[in-house]
Symmetry: C3
Subunit: 302 residues, 3 copies
Amino acid sequence: MLMNLDIKRNQGLQTMSDLSMLEIQELLNEAQSFSNGKQWSAGKPVFAANLFFEPSTRTRFSFEVAEKKLGMELLQFDGETSSAKKGETLYDTVKTLEAIGADLVVIRHPEDQYYKELLPKVNIPIINAGDGCGQHPTQSLLDLLTIQQEFTDFNQLHIVICGDLRHSRVARSNAEVLTKLGAKVSISGPRSWMNGFEHMYPYVTMDEAVKIADVMMMLRIQHERHDGDISFSKEEYHQQYGLTIEHEKKMQPHSIILHPAPVNRDVEIADELVECSRSRIFKQMKNGVFVRMAVLKRALNH
Amino acid sequence: MLMNLDIKRNQGLQTMSDLSMLEIQELLNEAQSFSNGKQWSAGKPVFAANLFFEPSTRTRFSFEVAEKKLGMELLQFDGETSSAKKGETLYDTVKTLEAIGADLVVIRHPEDQYYKELLPKVNIPIINAGDGCGQHPTQSLLDLLTIQQEFTDFNQLHIVICGDLRHSRVARSNAEVLTKLGAKVSISGPRSWMNGFEHMYPYVTMDEAVKIADVMMMLRIQHERHDGDISFSKEEYHQQYGLTIEHEKKMQPHSIILHPAPVNRDVEIADELVECSRSRIFKQMKNGVFVRMAVLKRALNH
Amino acid sequence: MLMNLDIKRNQGLQTMSDLSMLEIQELLNEAQSFSNGKQWSAGKPVFAANLFFEPSTRTRFSFEVAEKKLGMELLQFDGETSSAKKGETLYDTVKTLEAIGADLVVIRHPEDQYYKELLPKVNIPIINAGDGCGQHPTQSLLDLLTIQQEFTDFNQLHIVICGDLRHSRVARSNAEVLTKLGAKVSISGPRSWMNGFEHMYPYVTMDEAVKIADVMMMLRIQHERHDGDISFSKEEYHQQYGLTIEHEKKMQPHSIILHPAPVNRDVEIADELVECSRSRIFKQMKNGVFVRMAVLKRALNH
């Protein structure tokens, strides 16, 4: 009973493992309803505070559009023009926004699991919009929604996750959830970037990947998180680990391409393929709004 | 027929030459209606994305107020806190905003004709809020509206465009449109800043200008676009090419002063003249909101 | 009659001394009504322009929430992304926002009494959100509201103002108003930071302060306004002038702690005391919204 109340108190979302498979499916269903035109609003003024301590276009605007579509008021916190400059901690900033009237907070922060110190004492939902090299649950959900829209059922689907697995915020949780949903997951990319994934999922070369995959899940090279440890040129990466025009021709007719964007064009994916008929990259962005609407609605306990 | 559809698809505004004289007059009439208190809203949620890659106060807030008066939701993109920092191109940024739900984009960008690469593939209206040393069509329209409010008819009016014609985004289009409307255009300012204008329009000194002009259209010295090529002091510029207190006294009783602002006080115009009875500088700012309302309404095809 | 009209024209708020004791009480009553759930809106579109030339979290978001709760549209001016970068003066910026449609401006600026040059020529209310080492009237009002909520009556209350009195924007006005309201004010902190206060109010050590105070009004050390003139370490300051855990134990059972925040934890106040049962620090933030609603409503002459 107490635990239930506790959960009621803060229906935020920090990691995909916070969610049961049932809850994931409920969120995807809700997101699909929003995609189909469902309208919903809280019926009272709701203030959403967006705290972005790292640059972002997609995630930030996607949350903004989702919040506005749900009729919320926004408080836009930018690390550069706030008391964070006077040395205020994240904890004090969030408690301040709570005191001032924020009903929920959306946070992107460069520190892994920044939310751990917040959860015990913050009384409003915390929605994680990306923590360091940790998680990015709404990105995972929009990937799942995009696959589900395409194939209806995850069972027997073969998904190959390709590229910078080491710094990806979604590779691990996507692999875990997809496996639980009955899909087969393989991995591809530079061996030294596999980060332990190679012990759990089969490794395939890009040549093999394009032939077997129903979904090529390309990851962005997180240049800003590499410390000069990239030993190949962009061209070399593209030829060996990227999705080239030649690779795409070997894909199965029904297979699709995902990428969280921003794309490093001609590195992870050939420039011409970004908007090709197989690409669901812009569809992912569209879905991001609907997934976030579902997560925000859930945060308000409706 | 196809072309018509094409235009329908994207009723943005990039340059004044996109507009026929009839369309210009329609926009001025609509703007005047808004000035007179006309209310209008799209009747559905509209998301306007404002992308400013250069500092701006007047233009940015003017668009914001115009959008809010039309009931739009705003997405404020700031080049400094976005994935542009991760190296994302303007094209990918605009496509992202389109995917996320923007219904139109307003862009200021330091690159001339930045919109050329966008137009073929972006499906939402692009409204140019200033491109490099290129154009700034809503500024041109607000200049025209301010003159029309004063004199009703452009025919036989004498407008002298004064100052930094080389870097002005409005000098060329204003001169062209005003000439088509029947006005007489002359130019004044440093000879080396005339940028070819001297082959098309009569050059006059400031002493002559103030005597003949119905409208003194002063331009801002675009210091940020000069590469240390200014060979005179501010005081020298003011005395020789600026509108001094002595000059103002020689103007005709009915003549007015325009300036796009921000004014370099005591350079282009004597400090005391900025808010004198001849000055329409703040009137121009007010008109900017109404002109932008008209352009935004047109972008939604209403 | 003329003076009345003048006041009508600009019901802004720059310093606490602009307000009579009656007006202060009216504002506190109005704020308390908002705290109790009162709803109010202007009944017409109102544009509030927020100009922050210094970093701020609490004050900025507090005004934002207050404005949105009153149904206003916001224009967020940030010193870093505007024509201020082209060298535009504060005066020209404010006149621009007025021309574009702002109905009132809220300004934080590093310069003392920045508003002096604005008042004669700006026709919309100017609400001071902090000027240099000058004043911060809405902070003063929220301090007063928090004390009044606790003790109902100021008469005979003993308030000790502690710490960086030299750079505080509220110390002087709070001391003056509290004295007029019948409270007894003492001061504490480094002798060299007393800034003349020692000639008007009794000085007490922290050991004495905690025993006699009904309200410990702790001030933030304004590190950004000190020029390397701080001769003691944080630990030394805390032990000698800060509110330590040992000090708190000597406070009277009913006594409370105020601090404008952001707190330098373990400097002005021991970390553990920031959220202790005596602390009204987050209550102050909540009250900040209600006080600002009252000030904004007054600015619209309602």
